[in-house]
Symmetry: C2
């Protein structure tokens, strides 16, 4: 019998991680990455972005990668898209989940997506209509990603009420899950706990609430713990923290999957992932993207003696 | 009028940071470091260790450094020592606080201090007697540092009940403050919150409770937030995270002061420290210890737009 997960981690390295990397990662290497993470117990991967290849050539093989991911037994496959056209491709491929990107900050929406937040919402509704046109058993799960939920390099701190309004709009439109994203490391654990509480209190009965943190200013894992305290049970991260930040050239990007799993398993929360089996997969990044730094402290320091702790976990003492 | 601090940070770079560094940092440079951190608003510094110079030559100038620190207006000066002899020296110099080191783990106590935990307690009682022999207005503050409170490279996870017993022994003996230390990065935020709650619930009326976290496995700042949630209001850290770990050669040591201050100030907690004034002080490390890595994400990414947030902090929205 498979033990139910306490927390679900999602690997986003193949989407957010490689998005701004110039060197193309060969399709077979992307598939190797997926296969090896599944073998380490990863339950969920966001494997690509369905966007015009001209815009992001890194994803020109998105269809092949997504198809290969769907062949992995038990893996939940999600793909990002900003629009209906991408959703149509994703539907044709048959991914389990489509993640529709939008920004809470108006300026970031214009700069990153070349559209207003109202236009993004209108486009989202077209994707909802696409989903609802399908017979009930054949519908993809539809998630909304809320970029700049804590702050934005243009507008600074983003007020909670703006995030709550955006989420409300998507919930009313028919979203299945929302992912609150700290795109440029503006989140602070107190702020994170407060916002996640509000989102979960207001919308948690209707939709799943996930977290997507970047470690730009070092608070990524503190923010994970804060969101956990607020009741969040889904977290994005990338292997070796792959993925920088276009607005802060030297900064780190996604939180590190290995460190996230160490935090969760150390807290006695079952993730299904064997953190030590993740470590050799870092070589895929070294082999294919030798210029990208490998982040992560667990990989450097190794497991503490006796880890994973016995079932009589320290918190139960 | 000086605004009271919400949280007190203590710089330990000049003690824990340089402890295992082979290159001697010149006395005048140590004093420059102290002077510049005070100018940035640092309220408290552990400036040296009173130990035999043969054992740790890095502290052969401890008396001069401590004297210079005591000339800094408003700075709380603490010094570490493992024994009565060191405490006598510290008393002669006139530091405000003596931090008596001991280990919760028996094996670590033997390996690090070449004595049993019972012998350490007996020695501590001699330091208490020294303090109590002084007229009341002339007494130094006496803190106990509890190494390996979460785990130990020899014994693995350390049970909470062992920490509580050690702390109880010290409280009964007359300690003024206890510092719970995660010496090798075994702490997990859930575990941290649970242990700090217990220590504060049991002893918080009698003694101050501080936290000393290492970032060996990346959870240092998550643990800060967890301890903060449990009611802890004193945190150790070192500039640029200076200080490695003798048991894990590639691992990071102390949590990074700049990132700690960013976390706290971002949470609307007044530390008295201007984080941007800390950044240029990192040059003292580069100048004197060019082989030591400079840690910290705030230093790389810089302040978020609009930081520090206005007084109508996001958590109050």
């Amino acid at each position: 019998m498979v033990r139910e997960l306490d927390v679900e981690c999602r690997e986003v390295g193949l989407r957010d991680g490689i998005q701004i990397v110039k060197t193309f990662v060969p399709t077979q290497e992307k598939i190797r990455w997926i296969r090896e993470e599944v073998a380490a117990g990863m339950p969920n991967m966001q494997v690509c972005s369905f966007v015009p290849p001209k815009l992001l050539p890194q994803f020109s093989d998105a269809i092949d990668v997504a198809k290969a991911a769907l062949e992995q037994d038990g893996l939940w496959v999600s793909a990002l898209t900003p629009n209906l056209r991408g959703a149509e491709t994703a539907l044709a491929v048959g991914v389990h989940e489509i993640d529709f990107m939008n920004s809470v900050s108006e300026t970031h929406s214009q700069s990153n997506g070349r559209r207003s937040t109202a236009q993004a919402l209108a486009e989202f509704k077209r994707v909802v209509a696409l989903r609802d046109s399908l017979p009930e058993g054949k519908r993809f799960k539809l998630a909304g990603g809320f970029a700049t939920s804590f702050g934005c390099s243009f507008e600074g701190h983003v007020p909670h009420k703006n995030v709550l309004k955006s989420v409300e709009n998507f919930v009313k439109a028919g979203v299945d899950e929302v992912v609150i994203a700290d795109t440029v490391g503006y989140g602070n654990p107190r702020d994170v706990k407060s916002l996640f509480k509000k989102v979960i209190d207001n919308f948690g009965d209707d939709v799943m609430v996930g977290a997507h943190f970047h470690d730009t200013r070092g608070l990524g894992l503190a923010n994970v713990y804060a969101a956990l305290e607020a009741g969040c049970r889904r977290f994005d991260a990338s292997l070796a923290g792959l993925g920088g930040c276009p607005f802060a050239p030297n900064a780190t990007g996604n939180i590190v999957m290995e460190d996230l799993v160490f935090l969760l398993e150390g807290a006695g929360l079952h993730t299904g992932i064997d953190v030590d089996k993740l470590l050799p997969i870092r070589d895929i990044i070294t082999d294919n993207l030798p210029d990208e730094p490998l982040h992560g402290t667990y990989a450097k320091a190794g497991a503490p003696k006796g880890f994973p702790w016995a079932s009589t976990n320290s918190t139960q003492e």
